[in-house]
Every structure is written in C-alpha cells, then in structure tokens.
C-alpha cells in the first residue's frame, strides 16, 4: 500500500466527513435549540438536490446550488411554522411521528416531479476532472471543492454562533428557553430561523453531493441515519461535537471499507474475505458509536451540562 494510496483514501474520508457534517450540524442545531427530533432532515437534503437538478440545466450549476439552499431553507421554514410549531410542547414521539409523515409526503411529492427516475445533475465544468496533488496523488477537483466548501461552511457556522447576535441567541436558547423569552427575544422567530438554517445546510449538502452521486427519491434517508449516529457520538446539540464526530465517522467508514477486506484476505480466500470484510465494514461506524458511548455516555462534547 503506497503513500499516495493512503493520502487519497484519507482525503476520501475527509470529504465524506465534511459532507456528513453539513447534515449533522443542522440536525444537532435543531435538536439542541428546540428539542425537536427532525426525521424530515433527510427529505430536506433530497429537496436541495432536486431543486438543484431542476434549475441547473436551465441556469447553470451555481444557480442550481443557490436554488437548492433556498428551496430547502424555505421548505424548512414552512415546516417549522405549520407542522413543528404546534408540537413543541408535545412528546418527542409525536414529533417523530409528524416528521416521519413529512418524509413520506416529501418523497411522494418528489416522485411526482421526477416520475421515480433519477434526475440528471452533473458537476460544473470548472470543477470536472482531476488534479495531481503534491506527492503525486491524482484527486478529483470536485471532491477537493467539497472539502473546501464543507470546511468553509463549518468556519462560517462557528463565526455565526460565536460572534453574532443571532449566535448569542441560539446559545442562550440552548441554555435556557424561558429566560431568553423573558428577556424579550422573539423566540418563535428564532426557532423558525434556526430551523431554516439547518434545512438550508441539508439542502446545500444534498445539492453538492447530488452532482457527485445520483439525484433520486429516498437519497436522504441513508445519510440521515449516519447523521443521527454522528450527533450521538458528538454529543447531542453540540456543533463542535458534530464536526469532530463527522470526520471520525467519515474516516472510520472509509478505512473500514479498504482495510478490513484486505486484512481478512490474509486468512481467507479473496472472495470470502471481501464478502465478510465488507459486511464488517458496514458495521464499523456503529462499533465506533458503541465504543464512544461506553467511555463517554453523553457523547464527546455534551452540550447540556
């Protein structure tokens, strides 16, 4: 195994991780501030990809990307106002039920738009192809751009939460909801803004990943499951935790997929080793989650006390 191979796989893990971070950040923000378990987060990811795929052929990829963010954020705000708002006082189970219904509704809507067939969305011409990195590693430009975009958004999010008035309110909302309500902050509007922000991040991830993979109904749910694993590992409500956990999950998953089959091939014939190895690899992140929870039951960076 050469160094170039390891660098390439490291970048792959990093790229996977930062995209997962965009999903997990919104999810953990919404849960941390509002205490809502939003199963429809994967549907918003899909909406972002669909909006991008519908707009990009007409107006170019970048307009499509914008449309993806706006559509997901807009739908997020609408969902918060119409469905989530009456459920704040209710049990988590009611929220799970309502947001699960939203998955079905949004998926069915997307199916009506696309006819159930995958939509065409290509990466922009400027980011097509690959470059040779220092060390002689060829790497796709688009994946590098995803890493850059993911890290950039992470930095912006950190600045937003640490340095702006909205960020102060979000942190205050996480710490003590009644108190900031009493201080005259319009908590209802804050909730809508946070929900739309989280939804927009999911839409951004969906649009960017859609160009790399395929845009189709149900694309959000596998990512949603990983995002839940991440926020549990990172500590529910913590953006910093989500970031670290997303990178851990991205790297663990990639490493598992390469090294486990290779390791087993030392003991078994190649066909069985690949089969067993890939089965074990798909469990690797859950093993990671179990290991983290065994040592730190509230996750790596618990947000509340």
């Amino acid at each position: 195994m050469s160094a170039a191979f390891l660098i390439e796989q490291g970048l792959n893990g990093l790229q996977f991780g930062v995209m997962l971070f965009l999903m997990a950040a919104g999810l953990t923000l919404i849960f941390g501030v509002m205490g809502v378990i939003n199963l429809a987060h994967g549907a918003l990811y899909m909406v972002g990809a669909f909006a991008c795929a519908l707009v990009a052929p007409e107006a170019g990829f970048w307009a499509g990307l914008g449309a993806g963010i706006v559509a997901a954020a807009g739908l997020g705000a609408l969902i918060e106002l119409s469905v989530i708002r009456p459920l704040y006082a209710r049990d988590h189970l009611d929220q799970v039920l309502a947001t699960f219904a939203l998955i079905l509704i949004v998926s069915e809507g997307a199916r009506m738009v696309s006819g159930g067939r995958p939509l065409w969305l290509d990466m922009p011409a400027a980011l097509a192809g690959s470059v040779t990195l220092p060390g002689g590693v060829p790497y796709p430009v688009y994946r590098l751009a995803l890493i850059g975009a993911g890290l950039g958004v992470g930095l912006l999010l950190w600045l937003l939460i640490r340095q702006t008035r909205l960020g102060i309110r979000i942190r205050a909302g996480q710490a003590d909801r009644e108190m900031i309500d009493a201080l005259g902050v319009d908590i209802a509007r804050l909730y809508t803004v946070v929900f739309a922000l989280g939804a927009g991040l999911a839409g951004l991830a969906g649009a960017m990943v859609g160009a790399l993979q395929s845009v189709e109904v149900g694309m959000g749910e596998p990512v949603l499951i990983l995002a839940f694993v991440i926020i549990v590992i990172g500590g529910i409500g913590s953006i910093r935790g989500a970031f670290v956990a997303a990178l851990l999950v991205g790297l663990t998953d990639t490493a598992g997929r390469i090294f486990l089959p290779a390791l087993l091939a030392l003991a078994w014939p190649p066909a069985e080793a690949t089969a067993i190895g890939s089965a074990l690899a798909s469990m690797s992140i859950y093993v990671l989650m179990a290991a983290v929870l065994a040592v730190r039951p509230r996750g790596l960076f618990p947000a509340h006390g």
């Binding site: 195994m1 050469s2 170039a4 191979f5 390439e8 796989q9 792959n12 790229q15 996977f16 998926s107 199916r111 006819g115 159930g116 067939r117 995958p118 939509l119 065409w120 290509d122 990466m123 097509a128 192809g129 690959s130 060829p138 790497y139 796709p140 430009v141 688009y142 994946r143 990943v209 160009a211 790399l212 993979q213 395929s214 189709e216 109904v217 149900g218 694309m219 596998p222 990639t254 997929r257 390469i258 089959p261 190649p270 066909a271 690949t274 089969a275 890939s278 089965a279 690899a281 798909s282």
Partner: protein
C-alpha cells in the same frame, strides 16, 4: 386455486343455477389474479417502474378483462416484500406472483410462495440458488439466471485480450452471482475483486483501490442509482482504464444520467431495443408511444413475462396447475428477444448480445454490436431436480 373454485360453486348455488357445474371452466371465463411486488421507490425504482410499465403495456395490448393485476411497492425491503406476498396469497388469493427486482428479496419471497401453490414468474432476479438446489416446478424465470450476462462479458473480455480486470459488485446474492459468473468464463486471475454495500453511492474508496491495483480494465455490476454514482465519480477520478459491465450498469436511464462519460463502453444484454425482431420492433414502438421514453431491458422483461402468462392462459387456467405449467414450459409466445425457450430448470436458454454505448439524439444510447454467447444455458440446471 381450490378456494376460487369453491367460491364460484357457492355463488352459482346461491344464484339458483344447477349445482352440477362442469368441473373445469373454460379458461377465459374464470378470473385470473396476478400480484406484482416490485420496487417503485428508493434507489432502484426505475427498474421496477420499467418492469411494471412493460407488463401493463402487454396486458393493455391483450385487452383481456378477465385478468386483474395488483401492483405493490416493496421499497427494496425484503421484510416488506415477504409481507406483501403473504397478503397477496392469503387475502387477495392471487394465482400468479411476479415483479421482484432484487435477488435478496426474491430469496425471501419465492420459496414460501411457490410452496403455497401459486406460480411465480420472475421478470428480473435470478439467484443461483433458485436455478439450482431450490428450483421448483412453479417457479419460472423469464429474464435470465443472474450469472448469465456476467459470464458472457467474462468471455468477451478474455477474447478481447484484457489481462487484468478489476471486478466490482454489491454484496448481495446477485452481486456474488455476478462475480462468480464473470470468473466462470474469464478465470480467477483478476487484478482485484471488491464487494460494496447494496445501495452505496460513494465509490471514492473503491476507485482509489482500482487506481492502486495496476488493473488494465474495470468490470462493474452496479444496477440503478449505484451505477450512475459510480460512473460519474469514475469519470472525474482521472483513472482512464476502459470499463465494461452487464446491461444493468448501462441501461437507457443510467446513460441519460451519466452523460458522455459512458461513451464507448461495452455491455452484455439478452435484449437490445435495436434488436431486429418483429415482436421487438412493435414493442419498442408501442412503449415509446405509450410512455414517451425508450424501454430498458427491464421493460422488455416485464413485457415478455406478461406475454408468456397471456399465452399460457390461452391454453389453461392456473387452477389446472399441471396444464398451466406445461403451457408455461412450452413458452409459445413471441419474445422481444426473438429466440426463447426454457431449460429443464425453468430458466431461459437464449442468446446474450454485446452492446456499445454510442452518441445518439438526446444523449448516449446503446447500439447492438454482436452476439457474445449463443444459446446460453445457466450453470445450475444440473443441480435442479425437475
């Protein structure tokens, strides 16, 4: 089924008809219920949609009002497919089941279904177990045995002088059948062999392995959205080895989503839309007219399955299981593939063709190149005691 006959008798008695009704009703007079369980949502939905559309087209063309079709979506979940098949057999009382796309679902549904006396005609999944040890007199596969298309490409690549292919498939029964089928004709000397997760969308790690493997070509079996994702990522990766695959990795819908990245790719198929057979020319024209798109191989398989059922119904009703089975075995219908007959294990013996992806109006499309294997019969018929 006996219960249907009983109901007919009861209804006749209630209506005051003479109770001594002839034991065997003329085939066309008795209703036939067909249950279709297929994948209409999620990552592999365009496969199920095309099977359904092809099947419904054949039914509409036949214009028979004694055949009822019930379609249910399995969302590619084995447990859901099993539950739907139980519902269809026990509550709806279907005579024939069909529709399953994925081999892991077929393994969950088919053996218990045929044991309960219904007929199962597969328009797609053809796992090796069902062709061999677990074959059953009421199970027919109208598409192919899973290994067939891969074996055809293995032989084609060997003849083309490719020395070190890297082979890749998802980790489920059809994936293992695929790579086993490929190696059955190519041999064991491959540069690398990888199984991915079913439904996986990111292939960066696998592409890096291909790059590091020193292979001279890539063979991949990734149907549906998986194939789209792989081809797009492969095209951007800078790995420039030629790729090959079965038709599942390069159907018309995948090509539309992948774009020019697939130009020049060779793939193997038992059917092609430009196959010059009268039944096929008529089918492709009718499908385009009805649905406004070019059919995929899945649509042709759905269409052929329905036409086989209709042809057999002309001879016997499924209630008369032995006569209906004999009518299916005879396979006297005009297949879109031209030549079509069943082997002793109820799997097709048919030609497997090679197609090439070329530029067409409105994007890349497949063009027939030649025959890879004539009269291909699967490797498992000997294990089947029928």
């Amino acid at each position: 089924m006996p219960s249907t006959a009983l109901k007919t008798l009861l209804a006749a008695a209630l209506l005051g008809l003479p109770a001594a009704l002839p034991a065997s009703l003329p085939a066309a007079a008795a209703e036939v219920k067909i249950g279709m369980i297929t994948t209409l949502t999620g990552g592999g939905s365009h496969l199920g949609i095309d099977v359904r559309d092809g099947f419904e087209l054949a039914l509409a063309e036949a214009g028979r009002d004694d055949v009822t079709l019930i379609v249910k979506d399995d969302a590619r979940k084995p447990d859901l497919a099993k539950q739907l098949s139980d519902e269809m057999i026990q509550r709806e009382g279907v005579d024939i089941l069909t529709g399953i796309i994925w081999s892991n679902l077929a393994m969950a549904v088919v053996p218990p279904a045929v044991r309960q006396g219904v007929f199962y005609l597969s328009p797609n999944a053809g796992p090796s177990a069902l062709a061999g040890k677990l074959c059953h007199e009421n199970y027919f596969n109208v598409a192919w045995q899973n290994n067939d298309l891969h074996a055809a490409m293995g032989g084609h690549m060997k003849d083309a002088g490719l020395a070190k292919p890297f082979i890749l498939a998802p980790n489920y029964p059809a994936g293992t059948d695929a790579l086993t089928g490929f190696k059955s004709t190519y041999g064991e000397a491959v540069a690398g062999e990888v199984y991915t997760k079913l439904g996986q969308k990111d292939y960066a790690a696998e592409i890096a392995q291909i790059r590091a493997s020193g292979a001279d070509s890539v063979y991949f079996f990734l149907p549906g959205g998986m194939g789209i994702a792989f081809m797009k990522q492969y095209a951007a990766s800078g790995v420039e080895l030629p790729v090959y695959g079965p038709a599942f990795s390069f159907d018309e819908i995948i090509l539309k989503a992948v774009g020019d990245a697939a130009l020049g790719v060779k793939n193997t198929s038992q059917w092609a839309y430009d196959l010059d057979v009268p039944a096929n020319v008529a089918f492709v024209a009718a499908f385009r007219e009805t649905y406004g798109r070019t059919p995929t191989l899945y649509a042709s398989q759905g269409y052929d399955t329905a036409r086989l059922i209709l042809a057999a119904l002309d001879k016997a009703h499924p209630d008369d299981a032995d006569a209906f089975r004999a009518a299916l075995e005879a396979a006297e219908f005009e297949s879109t593939r031209g030549k079509f007959r069943f082997n002793s294990n109820h799997h097709p013996i048919q030609d497997i063709h090679v197609r090439e992806v070329v530029a067409g109006e409105g994007g890349p499309t497949n063009r027939l190149v030649g025959v890879a294997i004539a009269d291909r019969a699967d490797d498992f018929a000997a294990e089947c005691r029928l």
